[in-house]
């Protein structure tokens, strides 16, 4: 699965075409939301902090657009740099404020789920995976986030992180092997 962004659309948005900018944001925003939610997780039981950061990222992208020059580096890398920065800022702020709830115990109230139990199960499994991801080192974790949450291909992840696609594939396999090992150890534990 790839995340392809029309270069002509980017060009029009860079030249302050409002319709093109809105269309570009509409394309990019869902992936940014998933990235921020994947990196920040559910703080205090919900995704509102992550969603706020995603909003900040999109506004930051719009503000930075005039400085974007298509010099062979994909637009996704441009967005990623802004997103990674703002997520890091949010993490620092959360640690400073002491408001981070590392692993909340109460399942969230689902709003539009197919069934409340299914939503709770999915959310719970997702939380487990999130905890496992937290035990990986930074680059392998980021690769999994970009591959699964954002939906970039191995080639695109390589372009964004400055690695070859082959190196990405090796790193992601190692990350999966580690996750499998960790999952075997923790799967039967009660969520804490």
């Amino acid at each position: 699965m790839t995340l392809s962004i029309d270069r002509e659309l980017v060009g029009l948005a860079v030249e302050r075409d409002r319709d093109a900018t809105a269309a570009l944001l509409a394309q990019v925003h869902p992936a940014v939301v998933r990235y921020c939610r994947a990196r920040l997780g559910r703080l205090a039981g919900g995704y509102s902090t992550a969603d706020d950061v995603a909003q900040e990222v999109c506004l930051g992208v719009v503000r930075a657009l005039p400085r974007y020059r298509d010099q062979g580096r994909p637009f996704a890398a441009f967005v990623y740099a802004i997103a990674a920065h703002k997520v890091a800022d949010a993490q620092r702020a959360a640690m400073r404020d002491g408001g981070v709830v590392a692993g909340d115990t109460t399942p969230d109230r689902p709003d539009l789920a197919p069934g409340p139990e299914q939503q709770a199960v999915t959310s719970d499994l997702g939380r487990r995976l999130s905890m496992l991801l937290g035990q990986l080192s930074a680059v392998p974790r980021e690769i999994i986030v970009l591959r699964v949450a954002v939906g970039l291909s191995a080639d695109e992840v390589g372009a964004v992180l400055g690695m070859t696609a082959a190196a990405v594939r090796v790193a992601q396999s190692r990350a999966l092997a580690r996750l499998r090992m960790l999952a075997g150890d923790t799967l039967d534990e009660v969520a804490v």
Binding site: R18, D19, A22, A54, A149, S153, S173, L176
Partner: protein
């Protein structure tokens, strides 16, 4: 450290075989597209659940202060913003060319006008048509009806090349409205056709090959009509906005 540094398999290390590389790559593609991993792979299932949860109750994209109220409309009823920038660039070139002053959107460092003309030829036609219509309106207001008609013919030539039917229809409507106004100024034309009958005919469809864009009932292009000599106190010009320069 199972995470690795991404530097590639080193000999003697926990090297990953090619089959695993391919299988893991496929698994990640599968999960990313919203499908569950193969049964029995716990981590695949966990990743799939995690992916699903990330999309729960997704927020809407932030708005971009859209003038018309909705982010992306297929055919804006006003001059496209790119046209405004192009008009500004054209005006800037005209003003500063003689001074040799480097203008932001022109010259080797600038990108707007030359690239736009080459890469977006349709936009260039729309711009040229709007520019000619504006010039025609200005000439009509000043009483220079001959010039106004020439500008309208110019506008028609460009409009005939515009492929977008909505945009072309808008341009034809402006051209026709101006022609009717000009016809109203010349009360004794050779055909004696009143402006009312011209108003009843619909605008010609976009893409027609008639270069003059003539409205039936009006004299053919190039005919010299007696010009009105008195000033024009209350000109019933259509209240369409001129494509203004962006602030």
């Amino acid at each position: 450290m199972g995470g690795g540094t991404g530097a590639g398999a080193r000999p003697g290390d926990d090297a990953v075989d090619l089959a695993t590389l391919a299988a893991d790559d496929r698994l990640l593609d599968l999960v990313a597209s919203g499908q569950a991993g193969p049964g029995g792979d716990t981590v695949g299932q966990l990743l799939a659940a995690w992916r699903t949860d990330l999309e729960a109750d997704s927020p809407a994209a932030p708005a971009v202060r859209a003038e018309s109220g909705s982010p992306a409309q297929p055919a804006p009823p006003r001059p496209h913003r790119l046209s405004r920038l192009m008009l500004a660039a054209a005006a800037a070139v005209a003003v500063f060319a003689g001074l040799g002053v480097a203008v932001r959107h022109t010259g080797p460092g600038g990108t707007l006008w030359p690239i736009t003309r080459l890469v977006y030829p349709q936009q260039a036609e729309v711009l040229a048509a709007e520019h000619a219509i504006a010039a025609a309106r200005e000439a009509a207001t000043a009483g220079r009806t001959d010039e106004a008609r020439r500008r309208l013919d110019e506008a028609a030539v460009h409009t005939a090349r515009v492929r977008d039917p909505a945009v072309a229809n808008r341009l034809w409507a402006e051209i026709d409205a101006l022609r009717r106004t000009l016809a109203g100024l010349t009360s004794t034309g050779p055909s004696g056709a009143p402006a009312a009958s011209a108003a009843a005919t619909p605008a010609p469809p976009a893409g027609t090959s008639s270069p003059g864009g003539l409205v039936p009932g009006l004299p053919p292009v190039g005919t010299t009509l007696p010009l009105p000599t008195p000033p024009l106190p209350s000109l019933p010009l259509p209240s369409l906005p001129l494509p203004g320069l962006p602030g």
